[in-house]
Symmetry: C2
Subunit: 344 residues, 2 copies
């Protein structure tokens, strides 16, 4: 993503030009997914003519798109024959359980583009000029998130479930609150590792329909409970052994997050823990690249959200009465867990 | 731009995610230019608070944008202090003669974005679904090109002028046709190196106003002549020693380009040469990255344009009667010259 200039090299506008053309690379990848091009290659199409036939597209269009995907690192080319990389075979073949193509409906949603076309205004104001960005109740963009983003979250969900299995696996029961449940993957993965656990999934009512359906498919309906509404307003109940807060706190300012963490504290049993999934940049705020850049995503699309450092999350936790906050990296994934505990 | 996966590495969605977020990096750079942020730093602002004050923006917005620009390689950060890279000082300080910020009005023009939001349709059809893309007479986007893109063309213009000075410098006069003159930089630079040369600039009438103004500023009005209209339709006249065809042939299919090159052949003196400025990928069509990716830009925005290889340009030249076609690289710039000659 970053390419530092060589000392003494003559001025060169190529990095500027390529960055500005970045929107073309984004839409090239989306076009390939819309055409199901990666699946056509996975099924055996090799040349532009063969792929075009399978994708019901023009050979010329497929040739140009496929060459661009080679330059971008998403296809390999030998002579006139294209093949998948290991990553595209895993994530972009639409028959793969890890298929990420639906995530593009969220990541390239027209409202996301619209926010960024006016990023200068957000910089002037210090946040999106929309009153709520994408944070209004039942905003349909979160349906797209729920339907598309689960595959990107598998490693994080497994890490969470592993943490909780170590802690709660020997107990006769467990009660887990999954805040911003979305697709439900986090709670579902925990429920699969903890066969006695009950999951309470909180999200907008329209989004919970997706989580409920996914939980049902995994045979978890009896242990899966719904808490529709805003995480700031819904009564969580009490007696939780753990509370998951995933991909949520980055949308809000620290004082709001402390309110939510105080609600979590009140709902936890003594010794229970909060597990936060987030993009957590280093204190320099410019590394690692993906968590650091996520701050810009929040500037563009929320009034006051940010990618907070561990020190900032630790302060929010402590101000809410949650102790020993610590970072659990999910390397090589760009997100991390922040874990803190309600004292005994 | 490309990042090949390590053999044996576990699947990782980060490259897919970062590519899709490429539109955010494009608009981040544009927002910084719109705020004149690079100039504020060049003038001495260092911290987010200082830059924000100078740019009339929120400190929080400037902090987040500036950190993103560090990640992207366009700023340096030390503690809380930001500074320019050599490239951003040269190209993005709005007081610089090489200022590229106005180019973004062309490169991120709403019509370019609209083309790419529907790239899948262009792949299916083999070209933009718009009847003419941006190629209709007097399309105002070419005013943006003319006003913004000249600084990116300086090395190419100097290379052309150098070629022609070596060939024509000793003659008492010279007559140069500059097709798709745009900002006029190519003809103007040639006229400055050849003080007896007359330049005939061809472009849409609205665009020629920009070229004429730029030529006038350089004191070249008496040697600068206008040929308004389409390069396929306007009578070029005869007796030219050289014909420049810059950033134009990529918009059309080879048979159309041959028509234009035949017109050029007819307008040239024996021994005269055509100098074509283009993105010329290697025969593999996937290297070097920038010329190879340019084919996608043409797929998205024209009915039948492409980034042609040297072999393809050579065939078009020969079919038009132009001989000894050869490539003149402009390394490290991503474009090249293709030069061919009318036989004596």
């Amino acid at each position: 993503m970053s390419a530092q200039q060589q000392p003494g090299a003559p001025p060169n506008p190529v990095q500027i030009f390529s960055t500005i053309q970045g929107y073309q690379r984004a839409f090239a990848l989306k076009a390939a997914v819309d055409l199901d091009l990666f699946t056509a290659i996975a099924k055996g199409s090799r040349t532009a003519a063969e792929i075009a036939k399978n994708c019901n597209a023009a050979e010329r269009g497929v040739r140009i798109l496929s060459d661009a995907l080679v330059v971008m690192g998403f296809l390999l080319k030998s002579g006139n024959s294209y093949s998948l990389t290991p990553d595209t075979a895993f994530f972009l073949d639409s028959r793969s359980p890890a298929y990420l193509g639906l995530a593009f409906n969220f990541l390239l949603h027209p409202s996301q583009l619209a926010h960024f076309e006016h990023l200068g205004t957000a910089v002037r104001k210090g946040g999106t000029p929309d009153e709520q960005g994408n944070l209004a109740p039942d905003d349909p963009i979160w349906i797209e998130f729920a339907k598309g983003m689960a595959p990107m979250m598998i490693p994080a969900a497994q890490a969470m479930a592993g943490l909780l299995a170590g802690e709660l696996g020997s107990r006769p029961s467990a009660k887990i609150l999954d805040i911003a449940a979305s697709h439900g993957l986090f709670g579902i993965t925990v429920a699969q590792r903890l066969p006695k656990a009950h999951i309470y999934a909180l999200d907008w009512a329209n989004v919970l329909e997706v989580a409920k359906e996914n939980a049902g498919k995994q045979g978890l309906a009896e242990r899966y409970h719904l808490l529709p509404g805003s995480a700031f307003e819904v009564d969580y109940g009490t007696g939780f052994d753990a509370i998951l807060i995933t991909n949520l706190l980055h949308h809000f300012e620290p004082s709001e997050n402390e309110k939510m963490l105080k609600k979590a504290h009140a709902a936890l049993n003594p010794g229970g823990q909060v597990i936060i999934l987030e993009f957590v940049p280093n204190d320099d705020r410019v590394s690692p690249p993906v968590p650091a850049m996520f701050s810009l995503t929040m500037l563009g699309s929320t009034p006051k959200g940010d990618a907070y450092t561990l020190a900032e999350y630790a302060a929010m936790c402590r101000n809410a009465g949650l102790e020993t906050p610590r970072l659990v990296p999910l390397d090589p994934m760009p997100q991390s867990l922040v874990v803190a505990r309600k004292p005994f």
